[in-house]
């Protein structure tokens, strides 16, 4: 055995993966080769050093758990959290977001609070809804679409999916119907949001055969969403926002507007759904409205999210038909409605690209 061959065996040796013959040959070589012996010793020491590094206690930052749970709980309370994780950290948890339902059926539009304005913007093929500027906004909270997409590339299958025996999520562990979860704090009877809920309760049973009950779960790769995140600063927030809405309308896009608070800055989030062909042109125009601080282009396979939402929705509907408790029914209705909205939004967005514009003063 020569030095080169011996060197090639070092890695396997460190992992205890040498055959008896290889081990014997290596031992013999080392006996008569001080150089390779030194190489081996160094390799062993480096390996030990790495293992020692692994033994060191590394503590997670104290805010990590809080951030994770805040994100999940916000989703549960149906706020839109489809921002890149790094941006989410800076959005105040107390922000009140009002969902504007765009496009889709007119039945959905009936769910808007009175404070929202739905208008047909000339030149746009879809109605654009914006929040009326005014004090009403801060207290109005609708069950928003539970935007679960973090906007991260998920083109590789989840490692956990290797553990699945069958494709659809339900085939495996059978997701149990959600236990009566802690009611969201704003679901009190006197809260304004509840009037929206009661409206939902009235609307839902009146709907025809629910396509989401009978629809089959999607195959992997069926739903891919391309998104662009733009962070732009501009001095005149109102004017810039209006300009952005105009640009979007000009491209035939649908726009959702969310006022937010980020510390002492005002932030406006616009979620623009546009035909894929117009997307890059529109994105460039929007970026030019102010100073572009950050841009991320991503595409995500949301099939798993879609299926999961579908399953949750069906569970809720099943629970609904089994429940006779008024309070519980109202809560289930509201949750089901938010899941359904998310499904409808995803369906409406097929073949389209979502541009999220974060405008900051």
């Amino acid at each position: 055995m020569d030095c080169r061959a011996a060197n090639n065996l070092i890695s396997a040796y460190l992992d205890g993966a040498l055959s008896i013959d290889e081990q014997t040959a290596l031992d013999e070589h080392l006996l008569s080769c001080p150089h390779c012996t030194r190489e081996m010793e160094l390799s062993k020491k480096i390996s030990c050093a790495l293992r020692d590094i692994g033994q060191e206690e590394i503590a997670a930052p104290p805010e990590l758990a809080g951030l994770v749970m805040a994100g999940l709980r916000e989703e549960r309370r149906n706020k839109p959290v489809w921002l890149p994780v790094a941006w989410q950290k800076t959005v105040a948890a107390a922000a009140a977001a009002a969902l504007i339902i765009v496009g889709g059926s007119t039945a959905a539009l009936n769910l808007l609070p009175k404070a929202a304005i739905v208008e047909n913007v000339p030149g746009s093929s879809e109605p654009v809804a914006t929040m009326a500027e005014g004090p009403d906004n801060s207290t109005t909270e609708l069950p928003a679409s539970s935007g679960t997409e973090m906007g991260n590339t998920e083109t590789a299958p989840e490692p956990a999916s290797n553990e699945q025996e069958s494709g659809p999520v339900t085939g495996e562990t059978g997701i149990a119907p959600p236990a009566a979860s802690t009611p969201a704090p704003d679901n009190k009877p006197e809260a304004p949001a509840n009037s929206g809920n009661q409206q939902l309760a009235a609307n839902l049973p009146a709907r025809e055969a629910d396509p989401y009950i009978s629809r089959e779960l999607l195959h992997y790769g069926a739903k891919v969403v391309s998104s662009t995140f733009l962070k732009v600063t501009a001095a005149d927030l109102t004017g810039t926002k209006a300009a952005a809405v105009d640009l979007a309308a000009g491209a035939g896009a649908a726009t959702q507007v969310f006022p937010e608070q980020n510390g002492d800055k005002n932030v406006v989030l616009l979620r623009i759904t546009v035909d894929s062909r117009q997307a890059s042109g529109l994105a460039s125009e929007l970026a030019g409205l102010g100073t572009l601080v950050d841009r991320r282009d991503e595409s995500s396979d949301i099939t798993a999210n879609y299926n999961e939402t579908l399953v949750h929705y069906r569970d809720l509907k099943a629970q609904l038909s089994a429940s006779s408790n008024q309070g519980e029914r109202l809560q289930l209705e509201s949750q089901a409605a938010s899941y359904r909205q998310q499904l409808e939004t995803w369906d409406a967005e097929s073949g389209k690209q979502v541009i999220t514009l974060w405008l900051e003063s």
Partner: protein, 198 residues
């Protein structure tokens, strides 16, 4: 799996957020530590850890109770990290046939003679000193090399598990590990030499 984790996981599967929060607290150090080792800096590590937990919650319905929850979390963590790398690098993590010559290591690329004896970091090197060199060298390695070394040597996962986490074959893991160790050794030698000259 530990009994307490098993109970918490079952509750989390039924959308019990409090149970999931408890799981986060139980496993956050382990998840964060892996992120820290892979990323090399605390900001990225925190973002990836956060994303990993959120994905874990959404995927928990697919988790089989016989498996180890911590390992499952690590699989998700590596997946998130790989996605971040792919985004950063455009098409994908660059895979070269012979990384020995890769300039990405930052060392200039030319393969050093096996017989180079001018700096022997073993001589009179305290364990701490070597550990410091190894730490620095690790952060200087390419992402691919760092990943296999972190998963195999630092986290102690088997070849099979490493292959599964990285989405590559067993053979690739073995050869990548071998090259990673060589690259690490070269780096350490270089750093030792530089510190002597300093």
């Amino acid at each position: 799996m530990k009994e307490e984790s098993w109970i918490l996981v079952n509750r989390a599967k039924k959308n019990d957020l409090d149970a999931f929060e408890e799981l986060v607290r139980l496993h956050q150090n382990k998840v964060y530590a892996l992120c820290r080792q892979l990323c090399g800096n605390s900001d990225d590590a925190q973002d990836i850890a956060q994303e990993a937990f959120i994905r874990a919650y959404k995927a928990i319905g697919r988790f089989r109770n016989e498996a180890d929850f911590g390992t499952w979390l690590h699989r998700i963590t590596v997946n998130v990290w790989l996605n971040v790398c792919r985004r950063k690098n455009g098409q994908g993590v660059i895979i070269s046939l012979d990384e020995t010559y890769q300039d990405t290591e930052g060392s200039g690329g030319a393969r050093r003679e096996v017989a180079d004896q001018s700096a022997d970091p073993q001589e009179a090197l305290e364990t701490n000193e070597l550990r410091g060199l190894v730490r620095t060298a690790l952060s200087d390695l390419s992402e691919e090399h760092r990943a296999v070394l972190v998963l195999r040597e630092i986290e102690g996962y088997s070849y099979e598990e490493v292959a599964r986490m990285l989405g590559c074959s067993l053979g690739t893991v073995k050869s990548r590990l071998s090259r990673a160790r060589e690259a690490m050794k070269r780096k350490v030698n270089e750093l030792a030499r530089d510190s002597k000259e300093a």
